[in-house]
């Protein structure tokens, strides 16, 4: 499998709004911690180390 870089979200605006809402009223530190947890949850969903490394490269 290769990393998906084409649009794949079924509802991009809905996802984005949910993401921003999750951070509502959090201070910078709490937001960063939420992001860290979220990345770990999503990484588990992806599973494959090669894919995760490819994603890290895109984000860097």
């Amino acid at each position: 499998m290769t990393l998906k870089l084409d649009p794949n979200l079924s509802d991009p605006d809905g996802f984005y709004a949910a993401l921003i809402d999750a951070h509502e009223a959090l201070d910078a530190e709490a937001s960063a911690a939420l992001n860290a947890r979220l990345i770990l949850v999503l990484a588990n969903q992806i599973g494959d180390l090669e894919l995760l490394k490819a994603a890290l490269d895109v984000a860097k």
Binding site: L5, P7, L9, P12, D13, Y16, I20, L26, S31, V58
Partner: protein, 536 residues
């Protein structure tokens, strides 16, 4: 005695004239009084007048205000005004467009096409100034009045107080020659976002204010930029946190700059400061005149209910959105489209007043959809927190190289008509776009277009299926229209794989129900639901 203008008037359309009502011993009674002659009040007056209702419209000015507000009018709006007889002039004068591009700094990161298919009478969008939009509606009212429509417009008639009861309302009206009173069976408030009527009735208007200021400049110049909506995040020319460029008729270009929250409005509105921003964007060698400039802050909010007994709210008075998405006037036109046929049936005694509760529920639902979309766009353009800004910037950074991030770029999701899902069963395995609740899609038919053939009543559309010329349903004549051999585009949009179908379509061209074959009882049952006669 004077009535101060709150804004300058560009076209005097209904100069103050003394009315016999001002000398009446007892207040004159009118079946429908519309307060507010903006785009929404005008469209509603025209629709009701063409349906044969007697309408009185009051406005505290004498015509269309100068200034720049709406410019983008959607396909659905054009379909509605086309039915009202004002569409052809608007499309002829307007700048037709359907594509948009979004830039980050210098790079194009996203583009969209709002109507990637042919076979519709109306384009995805036209740009036309609100001033012209209102003028064309007023002209259509004059033409209708010449042919006998009973639409009266009274300028410099300011509503200062209202009393309501279950049979209607009594209005206190101020004119240059003093006060008078009238009574109304139905009062329709189209008096704009600051709605004095809403305040007089003590009704709330809750929602969000976005902490940002936008400078709107309409600039006159000859330029050959394409007729596309161009939007920049963090533009390289640094004239604002975001910028927009969009063509209007008569060599006018709409330019928006996002200025931020803590600004000195007076300073920003000085010509030299506006010119500095525009010069940076267009280049110092481009010559232009400033046609109109103003600074706005934006909000998204609505009334809890749009119907309060015999008082009904429509347009900005009922709901307000930020302009990214052009959902203000466009959604207001859909209010009038939804309201006019209901009020007409109620006034004719063909339906009970409850029919207007469906206006309330459908248009509240639509307002929520518009507010949701406008809020999301505004949150993306004006992030409300550090984290929100960080995600926004991450999307913009990734979008340059990676397609996956582009659908997240949000510079405005442009107005689409609401589909009122939940009308009742869908008895055809047909295309989703024409399901019950959806606005009937247009398609070419004979020398013209399908929507023009639907008429002003409820319509049974037989596609490859016979339907009677007329059917009596609960005292109402439903008219039949048969297309024996539907052309391909009608097949695509209405049948899909079905060999034939019967569609029942409301006067506002929304699909009420659809079936594979004709059965009079099914049509009558769907009509009973639509008219509120089925028990709720």
């Amino acid at each position: 005695m004077t009535i101060q203008d709150r804004y300058p008037v560009k076209h005097v359309l209904y100069p103050y004239r003394r009315s016999a009502d001002q000398d009446a011993e007892v207040p004159a009674r009118h079946p429908v009084v519309i307060v507010g002659g903006g785009p929404i009040g005008l469209a509603l007056a025209l629709d009701l007048g063409l349906k044969g209702q007697k309408v009185l419209l009051l406005d505290d000015h004498e015509g269309v205000g100068l200034g720049s507000r709406a410019i983008c009018f959607s396909k659905r709006t054009l379909e509605i005004v086309h039915r009202l007889g004002a569409g052809a002039e608007m499309v002829a004068k307007g700048v037709v467009w359907q594509k948009g591009r979004v830039f980050h700094d210098r790079d194009e990161i996203y583009s969209f096409d709002l109507l990637p298919e042919d076979g519709h009478r109306c384009p995805a969008f036209i740009n036309l100034s609100q001033v012209d939009f209102e003028k064309f509606l007023a002209d259509a009212i004059d033409r209708a009045a010449e042919k006998g429509a009973e639409i009266e417009m009274r300028g410099k008639n300011r509503v200062d107080a209202v009393e309501t009861n279950e049979n209607g309302a009594t209005l206190d009206i101020m004119t240059p020659e003093g006060r008078y009173r009238i009574e109304a069976d139905w009062l329709i408030a189209c008096d704009g976002a600051r709605s004095p009527l809403r305040d007089m009735l003590g009704l709330g208007f809750d929602g969000r204010v976005f902490e940002d200021n936008f400078l709107i400049a309409d600039v006159k110049m000859t330029a050959d930029f394409p007729t596309e909506r161009w939007f920049w995040f963090d533009p390289w020319f640094k004239s604002g946190a975001s910028a927009l460029l969009h063509k209007q008729p008569d060599d006018i270009w709409r330019i928006d700059f996002q200025l931020g929250w803590d600004i000195d409005r007076e300073k920003e509105l000085k010509e030299e400061n506006i010119r500095a921003r525009v010069d940076a964007m267009l280049g110092p060698e481009v010559e232009y005149e400033l046609d109109w400039t103003s600074i706005y802050t934006f909000q998204c909010r609505r009334m809890e209910k749009f119907r309060h007994g015999r008082v009904v709210f429509a347009g900005d008075a009922a709901h307000q959105v930020s302009p990214f998405g052009a959902r203000g006037a466009n959604s207001g036109l859909q209010d009038t489209d939804n309201l006019a046929w209901r009020l007409d049936l109620v006034l004719r005694g063909l339906a009970g007043e409850d029919l207007l509760d469906d206006y309330d529920s459908e248009r509240v639902f639509a307002a929520d959809e518009n507010i949701l979309n406008s809020t999301r766009s505004t949150d993306f353009i004006t992030p409300k927190s550090e984290t929100s800004r960080r995600f926004r910037d991450a999307v913009l950074a990734l979008a340059a190289d990676h397609a996956f991030a582009r659908p997240l770029v949000n510079s405005g999701r442009l107005s689409l008509p609401c589909t009122y899902d939940g009308f009742g069963p869908d008895d055809l395995e047909g295309p989703a776009r024409s399901r019950p609740g959806a606005p009937a899609p247009d398609a070419p038919l004979n020398e013209g277009f399908l929507l023009d053939h639907l008429g002003w009543d409820f319509c049974m559309l037989g596609l490859g299926v016979d339907v009677p010329e007329a059917l009596d349903a609960h005292g109402l004549a439903v008219t039949g229209l048969v297309i024996k051999e539907p052309p391909d585009l009608i097949r695509d949009r209405y049948l899909g794989t079905a060999p034939g179908a019967v569609y029942l379509i409301r006067p506002d061209q929304h699909v009420l129900a659809r079936w594979p074959s004709f059965e009079a009882e099914a049509v009558r049952a769907a009509m009973a639901r639509a008219l509120g006669k089925a028990g709720r």
